[in-house]
Symmetry: C2
Subunit: 442 residues, 2 copies
């Protein structure tokens, strides 16, 4: 019997689980301070939800199967279609705007060549019912609040922002036929992941003229929104995308996250449902894949017959952020917390140990006790391994006098304390606390 | 496009998610105070893990499929085999005892006739490496601590406890052949779920004599452990199971949970891997299925080649407990918490609103603001819907004088406060708090 999980799946041993819980708690805390409410769904979803709404790449990577009732289901590859299904089901009964978040496990059946896993958790934030780019500003501030809370500054990470309509207008101006524009955007999305020469060839194969490809690539590195405004105005094309971007950057400045954000016309996002602002967050050194990405999807709800609901959202995975934090040595040292470790001298003192442990635990103290038959030396070693703050020895002679023996494992110092005095205020025997029972660091 | 999730799956809208998070946080808090560490794994597991180790009933209900790589996998139906796989993989490197817990989503493909879902979350607690019944005492105290924390007393719930070896010895004494004993235990396990007459017939069909069936049923309601001790001693059979039970009940008294617990010889548990103490927790009125169940499984790790590791564990689902708490009106009223809701008078004040929101959020206050174009009246309604504690109006004239308008939606009272004075200590403008930013009630 093999000990590893199925290929591409992760086990979370306690050390890894502590990191995971820490990350999730940062996500949740930011989301709640920014006024988002949590939702979730089961991991199993209708297959058609994704066949309809996601890109071809996702469909080919679905973790799908036919259940015993003959239904085509899949482990969800992303959360947005499920989110849209849930919103659409409540329809008009849900007051807008809706600001929801989720920490959702998602699955993709990918080839394992790049060391990528087949499952990850994604923090999803969505704002429904807001046509203004205030929605995007909310999303980005919440996500950057989480990153900032993890110690990542504007020197570590950058959010690259553009607008689907911007590149659309540029393609229009370059005379690229409408029917191949989605394909061209798909090629642009691969920039940085594939060699530029290969991308240029793919565009020509799609039917873009060599001159248009040349002009397009010259624009992809343009950092000035103004240059696009001039270009579009010259050609009599819509400048709405430019205005949206300028308004958004104003809000991002007001939110104090202007330093993190830059205009980057080559950001188009792979998924087909985006309609407006799009963005991706990267480490500045460019060592890792995107930390998070998202944008506006104003037409997604139409597909569910829920009418037009202007919306924007983002997804933030748990894998890349951990890689980056590890590299920057920003992952906190998290250890199990045991306040008191009780050692009954023999089986005779066990009931007493249980009684005492119960009192401490009910008082909110993280408490453990020796459960097996152990010599004192082995028991003390166990206490040391648990990094218990205080060891409480229940020794027969001392107990007869109503005394507990409290031992500090670091200093080896022992003191004899009357049981009553100890149980009245156990917190004062803890080193750092002073204030009382420990939190939920666990 | 349908709005519901796949059959048997649950959506968690924010109201349901708050209840779910509340339940999970109670589980986690109890587990950590009792010295357990959290672990988890992906939902996808090797199919063979369950084919080998679980009962036939589970195998027929597996949510299994063949992945695109031809591997037979399944959504886990329970956590214990995964737990055993993870422990076995680390083997001797893991210091014992291991005390781990998990809050794990599990899937079973069941017929939907009983209104049962195909997915639930289960709180799993396990103690590995402890042959003494101290392990069972730890498990039961932690689980009952969680129940107690939810407001359920010994008058509401009962833990019925027995020992696999007890019924084994009884069957031996009654001359029931060894090869059909597992089958007979399976029939006993159905007690309360199936008519007694039907169970008696099934036992006879298995090959138990009518006299033995009669004697057996007479014993199933025996409440005195002592009666079994005498019976087994008279027949020269092992009384180890009785001694284990008596020791355990002593510890449970010491832990202050004696009132919750009773001896009940008909508890045998359906899963085949249990070897010693077994228990199930029910509501006293008998309206619901078991709240939690578990026991000792000393031989499970042998199957993984990890040698003998005496262990015990329990599983506690999220569905029945919520039904019971709802019926007893013990589910807390949980609502979204918004401390401040900012209303910019027009688009002109939006950047200012974002700047202010950012300050409040960074200060730990749950803050929301108007994102769309709204008239003041609609904005105030939105604030009321969010039950925002305080509304902050950013009005052009007042802002010119550096003033915010703070409004209490309950009383309708307004006060004009200088921006600086407000931002210096926003907490003092909150009704109940006094002490500062809100916690994570979200």
């Amino acid at each position: 019997m093999q000990g590893s999980p199925p290929r591409g799946m992760r086990d979370f041993y306690p050390d890894e689980m502590r990191v995971q819980n820490w990350l999730f708690s940062r996500w949740r805390a930011s989301a709640m301070r920014y006024g988002f409410e949590e939702y979730n769904s089961a991991v199993v979803e209708h297959e058609e939800l994704f066949v309809l709404k996601s890109g071809e790449e996702i469909v080919s990577q679905l973790f799908n199967f036919v259940d015993k009732g003959g239904r085509r289901v899949t482990l969800r590859p992303e959360m947005t279609p499920t989110f849209a299904r849930m919103i659409a089901a409540r329809g008009g009964a849900l007051p807008k705007p809706v600001k929801w978040f989720s920490v959702a496990q998602c699955f993709r059946y990918e080839r394992m060549s790049r060391g990528r896993k087949r499952e990850h958790y994604q923090w999803n934030l969505d704002v429904v019912g807001v046509p203004e780019v205030t929605a995007e500003a909310e999303l980005l501030s919440a996500a950057l609040d989480a990153l900032g809370g993890m110690g990542l500054t504007a020197e570590d990470v950058v959010v690259r922002i553009s607008h689907r309509g911007l590149m659309g207008a540029v393609l229009e101006g370059l005379g690229v036929p409408e029917e191949i524009r989605t394909g061209v955007l798909g090629v642009i999305d691969k920039r940085g992941k594939e060699a530029e020469e290969s991308l240029r060839r793919r565009m020509e194969t799609l039917g873009v003229s060599r001159d248009a490809v040349h002009a397009l690539f010259a624009l992809l590195d343009e950092k000035e929104i103004g240059a696009f405004a001039r270009l579009l105005r010259e050609q009599g094309l819509s400048t709405e995308s430019v205005e949206d971007l300028e308004t958004l950057f104003g809000y991002l400045e007001a939110c104090g996250i202007g330093d993190y954000c830059e205009f980057s016309p080559s950001i188009v996002r792979g998924l087909p449902y985006y309609t407006g602002i799009v963005f991706e967050c990267f480490d500045r050194e460019g060592k890792f894949r995107a930390l998070f990405g998202g944008g506006r999807y104003d037409n997604l709800f139409d597909l569910f017959g829920a009418g037009s609901l202007p919306s924007a959202g983002l997804g933030f995975g748990d894998v890349v952020i951990q890689e980056l934090l590890r590299e920057k040595q920003l992952l906190p040292a998290l250890s199990r917390r045991i306040d008191f470790f009780l050692i009954p001298y023999s089986q005779m003192e066990r009931a007493r140990a249980f009684r005492t442990a119960e009192r401490l635990r009910k008082g909110g103290f993280h408490t453990d006790l020796v459960l097996g038959a152990r010599k004192l030396k082995g028991a003390l070693r166990e206490g040391a391994r648990l990094r218990a703050e205080r060891v409480v020895l229940l020794l027969p002679e001392e107990l007869e006098q109503g005394l507990f023996v409290l031992r500090d494992l670091e200093s080896g110092k022992e003191e004899r304390v009357p049981e009553g005095a100890f149980l009245e205020d156990p917190g004062r025997f803890l080193r750092a606390s002073g204030s009382g029972p420990s939190g939920s660091a666990g």
